[in-house]
């Protein structure tokens, strides 16, 4: 920022006649305001304003047709005893536990593999990212077709191998895990890119030094590569958790929360409450709960990162 200041004074020096009027917002306040205005107006109306308004709405009872009625903490009390919300919270947690280990393991292995010098590694990287950029609804339909009870290719292969077919998404026992497979498949490439950036950020001197010290490849991996990847790993964990809390598209398309409530997620429940049962106040309360969880996650991660630095 120091540089900007000096250039501003240089500009002032070359145009002494049109010296900038002293404004309370600093020498470049007026120009800055003009540059910021288009974005900030839209940001305030469509993002900041609604985010703040949500807090107030969560304290009301509001049917779409009627007017909001202030109900104090009623919605929050209801949330604490709402079994559907408990289920959605538990599903989110199970989903996280199911997806995290394979996500970390596979994306790290893939990153290490595609970090080697070899032909076709850029193609490999690109292919791994494709699932992440596809429309989630499309991904859901493609997988639903593979998961089909009678004609799905997965059950066909299972039968070929002599094992009984699985009711992937039509049984409440396996539905959540089946969606988890799809989400892992979607996000491996994305996390791989993060790990690749982490691997490339490790200074070469470390490897050279360990080579001089005569460390084996395994030793180098466990003593240098893995510890150096810690910050990225913690970021991947946080992002996975955040994505799990926000999970909606795939669930909506693949199972719509079912069978029963076996794949009900928080956002799915929020959508049902607010836009199918038209309880806007209660829906906002679920939103606030989601927000609190997200803030907690980030806060804990920051604390962990800081405690490690010390």
């Amino acid at each position: 920022m120091l540089n900007t200041q000096s250039s501003a004074s240089a500009a002032g020096a070359c145009r002494p006649k049109k010296s900038r009027t002293k404004s309370p917002w600093g020498s470049q306040g007026k120009v800055a305001a003009l540059f910021l205005a288009p974005y900030l107006i839209i940001f305030t109306i469509f993002r900041f304003g609604p985010s703040v308004a949500g807090i107030f709405i969560s304290f009301t009872k509001w049917d779409l047709a009627g007017k909001p009625v202030f109900v104090s903490f009623d919605n929050f009390k209801r949330l604490l005893t709402d079994s559907n919300f408990h289920v959605s919270l538990l599903n989110t947690l199970i989903f996280f536990v199911l997806t995290l280990p394979p996500l970390i393991l596979f994306s790290l292995l893939l990153a290490i593999f595609l970090n080697q010098k070899m032909h076709g590694r850029n193609v490999g990287r690109a292919i791994a990212i494709i699932p992440y950029v596809l429309i989630p609804a499309v991904v859901g339909i493609i997988w639903n077709w593979m998961y089909d009870d009678n004609f799905g290719i997965l059950n066909y292969y299972l039968k070929q191998m002599g094992s009984p077919s699985v009711h992937w998404i039509t049984s409440s026992k396996t539905a959540l895990a089946s969606v988890a497979v799809v989400v892992v498949w979607t996000y491996i490439g994305y996390n791989m890119v993060l790990f690749l950036a982490g691997l490339q950020g490790i200074p070469n001197e470390l490897y050279e030094a360990s080579q001089i010290d005569g460390a084996s490849k395994t030793q180098t991996f466990f003593k240098i590569t893995l510890p150096m990847l810690k910050p990225i790993t913690s970021m991947v964990i946080t992002l996975t958790l955040v994505n799990t809390v926000q999970l909606f598209d795939q669930i909506y398309v693949m199972t719509n929360g079912g069978p029963g409530t076996s794949t009900l997620t928080m956002v799915q429940y929020l959508y049902t409450s607010a836009f199918q049962n038209y309880e806007l106040g209660y829906g906002s309360t679920i939103e606030i709960a989601i927000l609190i969880i997200l803030v907690l996650i980030i806060w804990i991660q920051n604390r962990l990162m800081k405690s490690e630095e010390m």
């Binding site: 540059f35 974005y39 900030l40 469509f46 080697q116 859901g140 493609i142 690749l196 719509n256 607010a274």
Partner: protein, 277 residues
């Protein structure tokens, strides 16, 4: 000998990994060219016996598919362009101007990265109802412009640019806007490409908000329309895998085009920001 074995093992793994990611897409693509009777036959085979494009004509006939595609294209392109304009202007101010309250303002904007659309859809819905925007494409475009990732990426980029050019231009009496538009923007192509990619993909794939904001079938976007295929599967017998898969395959073509064109910026983008568009 050992070396050759090792390198062929590497390529075997590479092919295997690629297959894992491509298999579901390839299988969907193949099945989209089979007649429904063949899709629902046992055992499945890789090469369609009766190759047909009828699923594709069917999906165009049965659903307002072209309208969905057009809506998706309009909202995505308009949204992306507006993000590029508004965000680069604002990020330029954050990255290069000196003004009071900058830290607080920038902090507030970036803090919103924490709050995903899922956490404010209801108030956003009420806001758009108030502004009489519901059930219009504007209701999809404008909220997408309040994108924070782009501000984050562009601000740090503008902040890192050297001062010499800017100073020279100032001495020549260039206005701040001309410095921005004619000197700084052309230097920002990599960062702008990253933002273009991230916002294009996130707008094109956006689902929850367009589903809530739009009621008319003709105004829906592709992801919302496509999700309906599955919805009909739950409620009535009209659902056909063939047409659904054909609809899916056409919807991913723009994604793949943008992906192939801007993929390398995407890799830089997520590596440097680590955040979903």
């Amino acid at each position: 000998m050992k070396k050759r074995l090792k390198s062929s093992l590497k390529y075997f793994v590479l092919v295997l990994v690629s297959a894992v990611f491509l298999f579901p897409i390839a299988w969907g693509l193949i099945c989209s060219f089979k007649p429904e009777a063949e899709i629902l036959s046992y055992p499945p085979h890789w090469i369609p016996k009766a190759f047909t494009a009828s699923n594709y004509s069917e999906v165009l006939k049965k659903y307002p598919y072209l309208a969905w595609g057009q809506n998706s294209l309009i909202t995505t392109v308009a949204g992306t362009l507006l993000i590029l304009i508004c965000s680069s202007l604002a990020a330029y101010a954050f990255g290069r101007f000196q003004f009071r309250g900058k830290k607080v303002l920038y902090g507030t904007v970036v803090a919103m990265l924490l709050i995903p659309i899922q956490a404010y859809v209801i108030p956003l819905y009420l806001m758009c109802a108030k502004l009489k925007l519901l059930n219009t494409l504007t209701a999809i475009i404008l909220p997408s412009v309040a994108n924070v990732t782009s501000i984050f990426i562009l601000t740090s980029f503008f902040h890192s640019l050297p001062n010499e050019l800017e100073e020279a231009a100032r001495i020549d009496g260039c206005s701040e806007f001309r410095i921005f538009a004619q000197i700084m923007l052309p230097l920002s192509k990599p960062a702008l490409s990253t933002v273009t990619f991230l916002t294009f993909i996130s707008n094109w794939n956006s689902f929850l908000w367009p589903m809530i904001a739009i009621r008319d079938d003709d105004l829906k976007t592709l992801p919302v329309g496509i999700a309906q295929f599955m919805g009909t599967a739950n409620s009535n017998a009209q659902f056909q895998y063939g047409t659904a898969l054909a609809g899916c395959m056409m919807a991913i073509v723009p994604t793949l085009i943008v992906f192939l064109a801007l993929q390398r910026y995407f890799v830089q983008g997520i590596a440097s920001s680590g955040i979903k568009g």
